[in-house]
Chain length 130, copies 2
DNA sequence: TCGATACATCGACACTCGTCGATGCCTAGC
DNA sequence: GCTAGGCATCGACGAGTGTCGATGTATCGA
């Protein structure tokens, strides 16, 4: 049984707080080091909302629009996507907590959730992002 | 496809620089506002590497390990995943430029690419992260 | 009241992704 | 050389995802 690295020392913990995690190597530590499964899943769900080029472009368009809000029809054209597809992407991002929907008359305006992206960024690099 | 590994990142404008995009509503602006399709795809690819709970946990374990490096066998157990699956996830993150692989003897040690997560975080929230 | 418009939802399809067992490669030790 | 062990790769399978056309819903104007 080899034991390569095994120096119990911890720094801060990028990528989200962690608990314990210093099994020598190939030892059934088994416990809940690292992210708790539930937390990892919640985080992954939010990153999944960012894991699509068209959704990133939607975020880009929304955040750069005059009042930081955009209606569906503004997105369909530049993205070369059908209206149902755009609605689908928007719904995903609303459910991920990245966008909010406000219906005014016939139009639905989408805008960024303040701090949503920041908090995700903080998860990636807790201290700062230069 | 070439290997990304620490791609350049831009800051400024939230979610990445954008140009103009203020058509009244439902006007064929058509141009390339927003992210360029290629950039959006590259970014999405990196977020996709984060869009899985097990990969997030791998990052967590790696970053919290003594020397910020871990071998495959350290991951298979706590994640309850088979060794091929862990290797698969690691490969994805290496190709995304998040991890680096260093083989020493029989073992393969994975460690975080310095600044990789920070640059991704900066893409989300250019100025700071809380 | 009726038609037009903006958007959401539904059903379907092709494609990708996460996972596994089986197998191959490479290094260390005998 | 030969064997053992750690890891990568391959092939396959089920589940999930992005996209679309068709249809439903709600609001506004005539």
């Amino acid at each position: 049984m080899p034991t390569p690295v095994a120096t119990p020392v911890r720094r801060e913990s990028p990528v989200v707080p962690v608990q314990e995690s210093e099994a020598p190597c190939c030892v059934p530590s088994h416990g809940q080091e690292s992210l708790l499964a539930g937390e990892a899943e919640a985080l992954a769900a939010r990153f999944k909302a960012l894991a699509d080029p068209n959704r990133l472009r939607i975020l880009s368009i929304v955040s750069s629009s005059p009042e930081a809000e955009t209606c569906v029809c503004d997105l369909s054209e530049p993205l070369n996507l059908g209206q149902p597809t755009v609605s689908h992407h928007l719904k995903i991002m609303v459910e991920a907590g990245l966008l909010t929907r406000e219906k005014r008359g016939v139009w639905a305006y989408y805008s960024l959730v303040p701090g949503a992206l920041d908090s995700l960024a903080a998860t990636l690099s807790p201290k700062a992002s230069r």
